[in-house]
Amino acid sequence: MFSSRFRHGDETNVEIDMVPVMNMFLVLIPFLLISSSFLNLKAINTSIPVRSQSSSELTEEQSEVKLRLMVTLSEESIIVKPMSDELSLEELEKLDFEVAVQESDALFTNLTAKLSLLKKKYPNSDTMVLSPEDSVPYSSMVRVMDAARGVDPEEPLFAKVVISGILK
């Protein structure tokens, strides 16, 4: 029988030498500890308004319709007013919209949806001028920037953010 043939065989107790593996682990762990990052830090690129060349100096390539979103952020609402040198005031006024601020994420889903429609219509647009009111906390500014960037990191909606105070 197959089973009886092995029943009386030599039973050698083989022990794997784990000491080299332990040594390897002891070298690996300090190395990984040093090069570990427990602070998952990312960044959002922004700038402040600076003087630039006038629109008459723009080249032919830059003359396609390009919107600049003027976003006024208060504790109650987000007002979006697109600006462009190529569109008339009437055309621009039709693109204005306002979103009421709520605590839920629905606000930002709503904002992203409206901004993606604008982006679809004017694909060359990429700049947002964010003007928060004085009392608005930093975290709300970051949430609006996130919403303006959209959900696809490969194709952001309005990734260039300029932070500016409200012009009075």
Binding site: F25, L28, S36, N45, I48, V142
Partner: protein
């Protein structure tokens, strides 16, 4: 009496069998955990406990830049405290004359020290010679660590002071969501 006779009566030394299986299990878990948190940019910032960064969906990595820490009570540029915040205002800062404020002066001094590279020395060469990474003066930007509850009024005053010194580009440090 020979040595052989002395040893004859003693039992053969048997090394104690240490049970290392559980230790191996523990090390394996630690190694996997550390492998997943491996980063080519290990933590190099000392963010104080009074700064709670907001979370964001941004996936952009930060660059090496001038570090500015903005908490509810103080403003720190790299290691130095350059201003204090009193309620919703930066202390000793006149909003109408920001460029002359002590805050703007501190930013200007920092900018000048960045530009003071030894003549003919490129940034890459200076980095090779120095232990501390040298910032590129042609692209000065600030990495802003700001507490999530700081109001825009304070942020605006600080970025205006930085702007008056020539720092117009900022990276806002956020926690990955």
């Amino acid at each position: 009496m020979s040595l052989g006779n002395t040893m004859k009566g003693q039992k053969k030394f048997v090394p104690p069998a240490i049970q290392i299986t559980s230790m191996m299990d523990m090390f394996t878990i630690i190694v996997f955990f550390l492998l997943f948190s491996y980063s080519d940019k290990p933590d190099e910032f000392d963010v104080s406990k009074d700064i709670e960064l907001p979370t964001s969906t941004s996936s952009i990595n930060y660059d090496h830049a001038l570090e500015l820490y903005l908490s509810q009570g103080s403003i720190k540029l790299e290691e130095n405290v350059i201003g204090t915040i009193d309620g919703e205002n930066v202390k000793d800062l006149d909003p109408d004359h920001i460029a002359k404020s002590p805050l703007a002066v501190a930013f200007t001094a920092k900018k000048q020290s960045l530009e003071a590279l030894p003549e003919g020395l490129e940034v890459a060469e200076a980095n090779a010679l120095s232990d501390v990474e040298v910032l590129d003066p042609s692209d000065p930007h600030i990495l802003l660590f700001c507490d999530r509850d700081v109001p825009f009024r304070v942020i605006n005053q600080v970025i205006k002071a930085a702007g008056s010194a020539g720092f117009t580009n900022f990276q806002l440090a956020v926690m990955e969501q």
